[in-house]
Amino acid sequence: MIHNLDNGHIHCRAADFIDSCLAEGKTLASLARESVDLSTGTLTSVVPKEYVGNQVGEFDRGHLLGEEIDVKTSRQISLVSSAPMSIRTRPGSDRELAQILSKRLEGDDSCCMLENYLASPGDPWLRRAKSRIVIYASEVYHLLTHADLDKDSVRQAIRESESIPIFIGGVGTVAERLSCLTSGASISGDDLRTFANSLSFLFVLAYDGEGYLCWQKE
């Protein structure tokens, strides 16, 4: 569920929270911190629909523990040697974020970069990654272009790159050369800076991993 955070005091606190996350992130986060003016533009939150009242304004903690989960959203699984049972799983906000990013990738020259805060270029799992990996120095990024705009591809990239405590990403534009890169290719600091300067949308992980705060250029 998307909430607008453009109401005075909450806008300032949301901007501060996003800024503090960018300050902790890696190079893309740092460049985005320089190029994005959080005091202008629209701030929104993407949170689970179970959030009520003031919870949307408490960005630095989760809220869903012990809450009743809508039975209709539970997943039914059947296991061998066991009667069918219901496992309570929450509909993650990543699905909604994937929809937003997918929509923003509709422009031909749009691309999305997701900063993987924990991965390093030599990690064995990267060889099995389904999303497109690009490397800058010792940092790992997941790149989505217009060709990847279907929601499943976007969600896959989010699931592979999302890390606690820091997860940031954004949508902007890159040179055509970069949109054709194969997975595992390297990019330069200038490429990252150009992308950061073109950002029209930015998000950070919030609510202890239960949701996101987003900035959208005016």
């Binding site: 040697s81 993650g92 405590p165």
Partner: protein
Amino acid sequence: MFSGNEPLTDAQLEDQLHNDAKWLQANGISTEGLSERDILNKYNEIQLKILNAKLSNTSYFEDAGKIFLMGSVSQVPDRATDSPGEGWEWRGKGPVGGKEGSWYNPSAEESLHPDLNHPDGIQPHWDYTDPSGDKWRIFLDGTIEPK
């Protein structure tokens, strides 16, 4: 040479039984009160559940009312500075165990972030991201909640 078709010798069976029981216990599944045959059956049943979960791309399975995650964590540490096990590395900024990093398994892409001082309402826990990308809270008593 052992072809795989001969019945197990008593010694081999005893080894197998010992390994199966040890594996079950290491993964938090009690073998108390089980006969030798029950232990073998239990081990096979759990392996089948794991296989089934893998085939259905599910990151957990259920046994006797408990949820078992498919990742490599069998027990979370009591202290943020303690590694969850072999192959795990501390990644992120700040000191080991700090709020700006996580324990990370680069082979499987799973991570454990200590959140042992959460504000009121949520008990101290670890944020676990399993290899499929699903997120969980693991409390110090072993209770698991999906995030």
